[in-house]
């Protein structure tokens, strides 16, 4: 590789990039942008995490101690919004930026300038969102799903939230367009679709889902905005609108959205498990097919979030059956990962630990999802801590654990240095322990009837809540360990070889030096 710069090809952005802060503001390099996405999402993870600590501190004991109910509601609302739109989604886009071009042998993303733009929209949106705490009336407080009538009534905070969702949506759409085009048009010669690493496949499908449903979200928040300020009555009962319609449109976006947050993590895990089992992925093609069909079918199950909103029995049964059937392709993936490990020569470095933790806990989350999909049960558990437990098992021990796995897996390639394996293992085991301590007991709380989004609770829930809060504090602190490990690795980790994982087979390991050079694959590799 041309590590020493010099071969003069007439490139718009050559190696004379500005330095200092201007480098980051003007950069169009996919690696720089990926790095910014990752740091941004980690910062938002800490902000959202701080809100979560506030929530758990209030719920540590019955009664109102720390947060007034109004502020508590703002905390739960912004915790959800920030984690979904600020932490998990941008983190996956960061991985896509770093990895997709390297894995398919492309020099950069298809639209480098648009890439820069879609990143820099994020801090703007985040400022609006976090800043809304400080406007009169405070931040939005109607839950991350912002159902009317609460969201048509709130103050300036709700408007700021609406704008910020608009901006975040625009950013995601631009990001996905970029990713789709890169994957479809910029593959190296010989890199056929069916040779693409699974991470690339899952992102391709995720990006399609994003352009499919993000505009619908943009539409529904626009309707909210015009209802609030321009006299339309989409959701206002008095004007002939219907607040339940909001829920239908929102969840038409919302259920595909949860798959948007999980499919790329399926991709990461499908890279990590074969590497550390030293075997090719079992049933690669089934995985591709299953991912594609999950994406299609996820658009016909949305009303399982609305079983108690009022629905004819026919509707309830339809969405119940459809939801349970869609768990089938998801289950097949779990079998594929397990079969990949079967008789492999496995080793358990931190990325592998997080991936195995992912499989284990994601299955629990999947099962509690199927339980929520059973109408007579869901009528009991809807809006209780059971649902909270379900989606934290799929989002925290699903998406987030996969993100950790990916970060540990690729950080040597990104920085040229190894992380501290011992500390990495500590990070895994502490996360595993505290995660379950926090969320497993919430199943019991939910089954016993503790409602979500309420700052106070009955005495009978006190013990489990205290356990859960203690677990949450532990989990929060553990993530600071992750920050330390990453900084330590970047600053003073041991030098990493080109291919520190001997089972790795994708292009970034086999064809690029470590650390990956600033410009990689300017001459496309030939893939056999």
């Amino acid at each position: 590789m041309a590590a020493v710069h010099g071969d003069a090809h007439g490139h718009e952005h050559d190696d004379h990039h500005p330095s200092g802060i201007m480098r980051w503001i003007t950069t169009t390099n996919h690696k720089d942008i990926g790095t910014m996405y990752l740091w941004f999402s980690f910062a938002m993870f800490l902000v959202g995490g701080t809100l979560a600590m506030g929530i758990r501190a209030e719920l540590y004991q019955p009664g109102i101690q720390i947060l007034e109910p109004e502020l508590f509601n703002q905390f739960t609302t912004l915790h959800g919004l920030i984690m979904v739109f600020g932490a998990i989604m941008p983190a996956f886009v960061g991985f896509a930026n770093w990895q997709v071009p390297m894995m398919i042998g492309a020099p950069d993303m298809a639209f480098a300038r648009m890439n820069n733009w879609s990143f820099w929209l994020l801090p703007v949106a985040a400022t609006l969102l976090v800043g809304s705490f400080f406007v009169p009336g405070g931040a939005a407080a109607g839950g991350w799903t912002f159902y009317p009538p609460l969201s048509t009534q709130g103050g300036l905070g709700v408007d700021l939230m609406i704008f910020s969702v608009h901006i975040l949506g625009a950013s995601s759409i631009m990001g996905s367009i970029n990713i789709i085009t890169t994957i479809l048009n910029m593959r190296a010669p010989g890199m056929t679709m069916m040779k693409m690493p699974l991470f690339v496949w899952t992102w391709l499908i995720t990006a399609y889902l994003l352009v499919l449903v993000m505009p619908v979200l943009a539409g529904v928040v626009t309707m909210l905005l015009t209802d609030r300020h321009f006299g339309t009555s989409f959701f206002n009962a008095a004007g002939g609108g219907d607040p339940v319609m909001f829920q239908h449109i929102f969840w038409f976006f919302g259920h595909p959205e949860v798959y948007i947050m999980i499919l790329p993590s399926f991709g990461i895990v499908s890279e990590v498990i074969p590497t550390f089992s030293r075997k090719p992925l079992f049933g690669y093609s089934s995985m591709v097919y299953a991912t594609a069909s999950i994406a299609i079918l996820s658009c016909v199950v949305w009303a399982h979030h609305m079983f108690t909103a009022g629905m004819p029995t026919v509707g309830q049964l339809f969405f119940m059956y459809a939801t349970m059937l869609i768990a089938v392709p998801t289950g097949v993936k779990v079998f594929n990962w397990t079969a990949t490990m079967w008789r492999g020569s496995m080793s358990f470095e931190t990325p592998m630990l997080f991936s195995i933790g992912f499989i284990f806990l994601f299955v629990i989350g999947g099962f509690s999802g199927v339980i929520c999909a059973i109408v007579p049960i869901d009528i009991q558990v809807q809006d209780t801590y059971y649902v909270i437990a379900h989606f934290h098992y799929v989002l925290v021990s699903g998406s987030l654990f996969a993100l950790f796995a990916g970060a540990y897996y690729w950080i040597p390639k990104w920085t040229g240095r190894m992380y501290n394996e011992t500390l990495g293992k500590w990070h895994f085991w502490l996360s595993m322990f505290f995660f379950n301590m926090t969320f497993f007991v919430q199943h019991f709380l939910g089954l016993a009837g503790m409602p979500r989004r309420i700052p106070d609770y009955n005495l009978q829930f006190a013990d489990f809540n205290m356990i859960s809060s203690l677990g949450a504090f532990g989990f929060g602190l553990t993530q600071l360990l992750f920050l330390y490990i990453m900084i330590n690795c970047i600053r003073s980790g041991d030098k990493a070889p080109q291919k520190p994982w001997d089972g790795a087979t994708t292009l970034e390991w086999t064809h690029l030096p470590t650390p990956a050079p600033y410009h990689s694959f300017e001459k496309p590799p030939i893939v056999k």
């Binding site: 299953a290 299609i296 079918l297 016909v300 026919v314 049964l317 097949v332």
Partner: protein
Amino acid sequence: MSNSPADKNHVSVWQIAKAVLSAFMGIRKKSDLEHDAATLKPAHVIIGGIIGGLLFVIGVFSVVKLVIN
């Protein structure tokens, strides 16, 4: 994708249906898949997938109707 017109003619509705159905279950033999990849065009699969999705909806709906009566 491929430009040899000879083997494209062999795409039958049945082959697309099989590809889509196995996708919904998430199980596909490698050899079948390679055959698909060589012969099916993206448009085939997308249209097949949408029709498959519709059939899925109709199927589930019929089962619901059956259960309710």
